[in-house]
């Protein structure tokens, strides 16, 4: 009748075996969700302490990431794009210079080319006080035509540019006298930013582990407090999955709400920064705007923190069930 191996012989008295499995599943989830929420709600002090610890741990990598992102957009500002200056030979005529400019702008590495004729250059020089008189003494314009190239190089782009190669290539053109490159600093900065990215990654991993430990320890203490309850439910037929469920939800809530709280912290910090940053940017004549957390990043943070919560609680419950399994064995 209660033959454990054969359900068919058992009389249909056990309603759980006659209800459909989907509703069984849902009822179990619902009661675990309700129960875990209540646990959080009725232990406000420990809940808030845990949430604060998680939020602080999460807000540090988030703000570092934002800082980095802002620096990248700052250096990628259009006006700041570095240039390559080609000084053409004196013998080169204006039309030749223009033709060369046309050809250069077809090159994939080059974004655009501007021609500064020697007349324009001279006019510019005249404007600079002190030079005007010097220039009067010359009977001929000593300035060459100049091409100003903007390479396709941005700090955010992943296009790795071989500046040396490009420079050699440009120098090889017959009209070109000299090449002056102003992009090394960008590459250096890009290198620095890349290191900074790595640092942010390492910090994120370490603080992610912290969140894992905080959640794991909170759940471990919770299990410790509810040992008797777990034992009783095991005595009346609770599966490991049933015992695990409310703790997993508990972990999800801690991770999720901790994530939300960390977003609040970062947003407040940003608000605090917006005004002085805008002022500073104005001083530099820049239209730079401090960029915040977008929807995509928000979702990513919440997903990551919930996942950390799940893993943390899973480890804590798993350890307990593993130990109690051993205890029952003897």
């Amino acid at each position: 009748m209660a033959n454990p191996s054969n359900k068919k012989t058992a009389p249909k008295r056990n309603a759980a075996s006659t209800t459909n499995p989907l509703s069984v599943w849902w009822n179990q989830q619902a009661s675990a969700i309700k129960f875990s929420m209540e646990r959080l709600w009725f232990n406000p002090v420990s809940t808030w302490i845990t949430l604060a610890a998680i939020a602080i741990a999460l807000s540090l990598p988030t703000s570092l990431h934002l800082l980095l992102k802002n620096m990248q957009t700052l250096t990628a500002d259009k006006r700041e794009v570095p240039t390559i200056t080609l000084f053409l030979k004196q013998s080169v005529a204006e039309q030749q210079a223009k033709d060369r400019a046309e050809l250069l702008s077809e090159m994939p590495e080059i974004d655009n080319v501007r021609v500064v004729t020697r007349e324009e250059a001279l006019a510019d020089f005249r404007k600079i006080t002190g030079f005007a008189q010097t220039l009067e003494t010359l009977d001929e314009n000593p300035l060459p035509h100049v091409l100003i190239l903007t390479p396709r190089l941005s700090l955010l782009g992943d296009l790795e540019m071989d500046v040396e190669g490009l420079s050699k290539k440009l120098k090889a053109f017959p009209e070109v006298d000299d090449v002056q490159i102003d992009v090394e600093w960008v590459q250096r900065l890009r290198g620095i930013l890349r290191i900074a990215e790595r640092i942010v990654l390492v910090v994120s991993i370490l603080l992610g582990l912290t969140v894992l430990l905080v959640v794991g320890n909170t759940i471990r203490l919770d299990i410790e407090n509810r040992k008797e309850e777990i034992r009783v439910t095991q005595l009346i037929g609770a599966t490991n999955a049933y015992i695990r469920r409310p703790f997993i939800y508990n972990g999800i809530w801690l991770g999720l709400f901790g994530g939300v709280l960390s977003l609040v912290i970062v947003h407040v910090a940003l608000l605090f920064l917006v005004e002085p940053v805008t002022k500073l940017a104005n001083l530099y004549g820049s239209t730079f705007i401090l960029s915040g957390i977008d929807v995509f990043m928000t979702l990513k943070i919440l997903l990551a923190s919930s996942l950390l919560g799940i893993i943390g609680s899973w480890l804590a419950v798993g350890r307990y069930l593993w130990q109690s399994d051993d205890a029952i064995k003897d």
């Binding site: 209660a2 759980a16 009783v232 005595l235 009346i236 037929g237 490991n240």
Partner: protein
């Protein structure tokens, strides 16, 4: 249905609680286990519910040895058993309702069905209207009855009761015994450990007397 084959149980402390027990219960039978304190009545019931394992011999349920039951199958097996503990093991941070509903929640039963079943169980043990009370506010007999209601609520096929009427007055004890008898008539196999000789005699069921092993 329930079969003990040369079962001995020695606790890790060295205490021999049962020695060479041979016992067969038919499906749908109701038996009483009596014997002096320490004779091993609780141990016998715990072996059936797999709360303890025999040191020698085997316990068969429906012809199948419990030792062959995998770890993952134990919870499922226990759900078909209603165990009434000598000490009721209630959860003190939950109401009477939630305590009794526990086996149903484990089984994933819906709200309305749960409410209906819990009400019926409360009614059977005479605790109607006490749903929202917490166990600490109950008398020993009332706690015992909550334990009984929790064991019965899932309509188990095997009922194991360890001194279920220990803290109850004779009239209530009689009522509870009749409730067990009712379940038995509906097909459940019932094993009751009891000291109360008068009550056991009045029920006119098979009675097994355990001797203390020395």
């Amino acid at each position: 249905m329930i079969e003990f084959k040369q079962v001995s149980k020695k606790y890790p402390t060295g205490q021999l609680a049962l020695y060479n027990i041979n016992l067969t219960l038919e499906a749908g039978e109701m038996v009483f286990i009596t014997g002096h304190s320490g004779a091993g009545k609780s141990t016998l019931l715990k072996l059936v519910a797999m709360l303890e394992r025999p040191s020698k011999g085997e316990v068969l349920i429906g012809g199948r040895s419990l030792s062959k039951l995998g770890r993952g199958q134990i919870p499922n097996y226990r759900r078909r058993i209603g165990f009434i503990f000598q000490d009721p093991h209630l959860l003190y941070d939950r109401s009477v309702f939630d305590n009794i509903a526990l086996p149903l929640r484990i089984a994933g039963m819906g709200q309305s069905e749960t409410r209906r079943r819990v009400q019926a169980a409360l009614d059977k043990v005479g605790l109607t209207g006490r749903e929202t009370t917490f166990p600490l506010m109950l008398s020993a007999g009332e706690k015992q009855r909550v334990g009984i209601a929790r064991a019965m609520v899932n309509k188990p096929t095997i009922i194991l009761a360890d001194e279920p009427t220990g803290n109850l007055d004779p009239e209530l004890a009689q009522d509870i015994m009749f409730t067990f008898a009712q379940f038995n008539e509906l097909g459940a196999t019932v094993m009751i450990a009891s000291h109360d000789h008068g009550l056991v005699e009045r029920m006119k069921k098979r009675t097994i007397v355990l001797q203390k092993v020395d």
